[in-house]
Amino acid sequence: MKRVYVNEKWCLGCYLCEYYCAFAGMNEKDMARALKDVKINPKIKIEEHNGISFAVSCRHCHEPLCVKGCITGALIRTDGVVTINREKCVNCYTCILNCSYGAISPSDEGVVQKCELCIKTITGTPACVRGCPNGAIVFEER
C-alpha cells in the first residue's frame, strides 16, 4: 500500500506541507481566500530543531495503537488506511495518548483529527506530497 514517507535529508523546513494540508481539508478552491487570517491546524506537522527538520503525519501502522485504544470504535483501519468516523468520536483523547508519533491532534471541530491520506478530500496524491517543493515528502509503496 502507498503511504506518505518523509526524508529529512531533503526537508527545508518551509512548512508549506502544513498549509497545503490545511487547505486540502477545507473544500475551498482558492487558497488565499481559504487561509487568509486563519490560524491553521494541520494534520501534518513540521518538527524542527538545530537545523534538522522533517514532517510528521500518521504512519498508518499495521497494528495501530490508536485503533486498539479507541473506546467508541471511531477509529478504524480499512484497506490499510486508518480513518476516523467523526460521528462516533467522543473526544476522549485516548488515541492522542496512545500514538507514539504524536500524529493525532485535537481538531477545531471538537473531535480529534489525523492524516487520512487525503482520501476524503482530494483524489490521488495527498496534498502535502504534491505541495512539497523538494521531494522530501513522498507517496509510495515500500
Binding site: L35, P133, G135
Partner: protein, 501 residues
C-alpha cells in the same frame, strides 16, 4: 553613519489580499529580505536585501509576491545611466574591483538571433522525425585523413580515440566548489541517462562521482587542483582549460571560506586557504609548450583518451585554433563572451572577448582553408540557449555544443547573478549546507534529462524540416543559414548569405 548612495534595485511587491502569512518567503530567503513582525502578525520586506532570485516568488503558495524593478530613477542620461552611476558609488565606497556572476548581460549583438534556418519546400522532401529514423549521434576526436594498409593490403585501424554522444550537447565545466555537490550529482546523473558528458571543471572529482566516469570529462586548469593519475584516468576525455569566455585572460579564485571538508580534499588544497588559479598556465607560453602538456596527459592515460583544449573566444581565435589543431589536441572547445561564471571582475566579463558565432565561423573556415579541420573537433559554448542555437552552431561548423547556464536554469537558477556571494537561494552556487539541500538531485537530474530530451526532439524536427536525417550532414552546412539585419562584413565572417539571397 555615512550617506548610503545606493537605492535598492528591486522592489518586493506583496499582495496582502493574497498573503496568508505562511512565512515560507521568510524561511527561504537567505538574504533575510522578508521579515515577520510577530506582534503585528504581519510580513514586511527589506527591498535592499533582495537579489531578485525569485525563490520566494516561486514558493509562495498563493502567488502573493512579485519582484519589480524599483521605479527610483536618476535624471535621465544615456551616457551616464543608472547602473554606471551606481557602480561609481559602489567603488567610491569600497575601493574594490566590481565582481559579477554569470554571463555578460550587456546589449551586444546576439548573432544567433540574426540567423535563420532553411526548410524544404516542393523540390526537396522534408523528413518527419516521428516516422523516419533521424540520427543525432556525434563522435568527437581527431579523424584520420588517410587510409593506411598493412603489408598484406588490409586496412589498418588508425582511428584515434573518440568519444560518442547521443546528441551534440554536453554540460560544460563547472567545478565542485563553484557549484554544490547536489548540482554536480544532478549533472552527472543526467549525463549518464542522456548518454552525454558533464565536465568536472577545475575542482577535481569528488570520490562519490567516480562511478559516473563514463560520462565525465575531467579538466586540468592552470591551478592543477585535484589532478592526479586516478583522476585523469577516471573520465573519457581530458580538457586543458586555457581560458573561459566570461573572463578571458583571467584566472580563478575560490575563496578560502569555501575550501572546507570535501572541497578541500577534492581540490587537494589545505582547508581555509584560497584556491587561486593563475591567469596563464605557467608552463605554457607557446603552442609547442601546449603540445608538451597535451602529450603529457596522453602519456599519463596511455593514449586512450582524447584531449580537449578549451579557450575563450578572443580576437585572434582562428590563428590560435590553428595552432591548437596542430598541437596534438583532439578537440578544441571555444567559449564565447556570453559564457557564464561563478565570479568574474565585472569589467572583464562585460568588455572582453568576442561573440561565439563569429569565433566559430572564423575558426571553422580557417581550419578548412588550412586543410586541418579533420585534425580536431570543435565544441562551442558561451550562451547556447536553445535547440535552435545548437542547430545554428552545428550548421556554422561546430561538432558539438557546451551548455551550462541553460543547465543551471533547468536546475532552478533564476539568473540573479549573485553566485559570487556564495548565498544561492536555489542550492546551486553555494556550499552552505542548508542551501545545498534545497537542490534535490532526484528532481534536478530529471529536469536536465527533460530539457535535453525536449531539445533533441526539436533538433530532429528542425533537421527534418531541412530534409536532413543525420546531424553529420548538417555540420558546416552554412547554406542552411541566412542572416537578417547583418552587414556585409558580418555575413562574410559568418560565411552565410543574407536572407533573400
Amino acid at each position: 553613519m555615512a550617506i548610503n548612495f545606493l537605492h535598492p534595485y528591486y522592489e518586493i511587491v506583496r499582495n496582502y489580499e493574497k498573503c496568508i502569512i505562511c512565512r515560507a518567503c521568510e524561511r527561504q530567503c537567505i538574504n533575510e529580505a522578508h521579515i515577520y513582525i510577530q506582534d503585528k502578525l504581519q510580513m514586511v520586506c527589506d527591498d535592499a536585501k533582495c537579489v531578485n532570485c525569485h525563490r520566494c516568488v516561486s514558493l509562495c503558495p498563493t502567488r502573493a509576491l512579485k519582484i519589480v524593478r524599483n521605479g527610483n530613477t536618476y535624471k535621465e542620461n544615456v551616457n551616464w545611466n543608472g547602473r554606471t552611476i551606481d557602480e561609481i558609488y559602489r567603488q567610491a565606497e569600497s575601493g574594490g574591483v566590481l565582481l559579477s556572476s554569470m554571463g555578460n548581460p550587456e546589449n551586444y549583438p546576439i548573432y544567433f538571433d540574426k540567423i535563420l534556418l532553411n526548410a524544404s519546400q516542393v523540390t526537396n522532401p522534408s523528413i518527419d522525425p516521428l516516422r523516419e529514423p533521424m540520427e543525432t549521434k556525434v563522435f568527437l576526436g581527431t579523424k584520420p585523413t588517410d587510409i593506411e594498409r598493412d603489408k598484406n593490403g588490409y586496412i589498418k585501424n588508425n582511428l584515434p580515440p573518440q568519444i560518442a554522444l547521443s546528441m551534440p550537447v554536453m554540460f560544460s565545466a563547472m567545478s565542485y566548489g563553484s557549484i554544490s555537490y547536489n548540482a554536480h550529482e544532478s549533472l552527472a546523473r543526467a549525463a549518464e541517462e542522456l548518454g552525454i558528458f558533464y565536465n568536472t571543471g577545475e575542482g577535481g572529482l569528488h570520490e562519490d562521482f567516480y562511478r559516473y566516469g563514463k560520462n565525465t570529462i575531467v579538466q586540468v586548469a592552470s591551478g592543477r587542483f585535484g589532478v592526479h593519475p586516478q583522476y585523469l584516468n577516471s573520465g573519457v576525455a581530458i580538457e586543458i582549460k586555457m581560458g573561459q569566455g566570461a573572463k578571458p585572460g583571467i584566472g580563478g579564485h575560490l575563496p578560502g571560506t569555501k575550501i572546507i571538508g570535501d572541497i578541500s580534499r577534492t581540490r587537494m588544497v589545505p582547508e581555509g586557504s584560497d584556491a587561486i588559479s593563475p591567469a596563464p598556465h605557467h608552463d605554457i607560453y607557446s603552442i609547442e609548450d601546449l603540445r608538451q602538456l597535451v602529450y603529457s596527459l596522453k602519456e599519463a592515460t596511455d593514449y586512450k583518451k582524447p584531449v580537449i583544449v578549451k579557450i575563450a573566444a578572443v580576437h585572434n581565435v582562428a590563428a590560435i585554433a590553428s595552432g591548437i589543431a596542430r598541437s596534438g589536441a583532439d578537440i578544441i572547445a571555444i567559449d564565447g563572451f556570453r559564457g557564464g561564471t561563478g565570479a568574474a571582475p565585472t569589467r572583464i566579463r562585460d568588455n572582453v572577448g568576442i561573440p561565439i558565432e563569429l569565433a566559430l565561423a572564423s575558426v571553422d573556415t580557417r581550419l578548412r582553408n588550412e586543410n586541418i579541420r579533420n585534425n580536431i573537433s570543435i565544441v562551442v559554448g558561451g550562451s547556447i540557449r536553445s535547440s535552435a542555437d545548437v542547430v545554428k552552431a552545428i550548421a556554422l561548423g561546430a561538432d558539438c555544443t557546451y551548455i551550462a547556464t541553460s543547465a543551471l536554469l533547468a536546475l532552478g537558477c533564476h539568473l540573479c547573478r549573485s553566485c559570487h556571494t556564495g548565498k544561492c537561494n536555489w542550492g546551486i552556487a553555494t556550499q552552505v549546507p542548508e542551501l545545498v539541500k534545497r537542490l534535490n538531485p532526484n528532481i534536478g537530474y530529471k529536469r536536465l534529462v527533460n530539457l535535453l530530451n525536449a531539445w533533441q526532439h526539436e533538433i530532429k524536427e528542425m533537421m527534418g524540416g531541412m530534409g536532413i536525417n543525420s546531424i553529420e550532414s548538417l555540420k558546416g552546412n552554412r547554406l542552411m543559414l541566412r542572416g537578417v539585419g547583418l552587414n556585409e562584413k558580418e555575413l562574410e565572417i559568418l560565411g552565410i548569405k543574407h536572407a533573400g539571397e
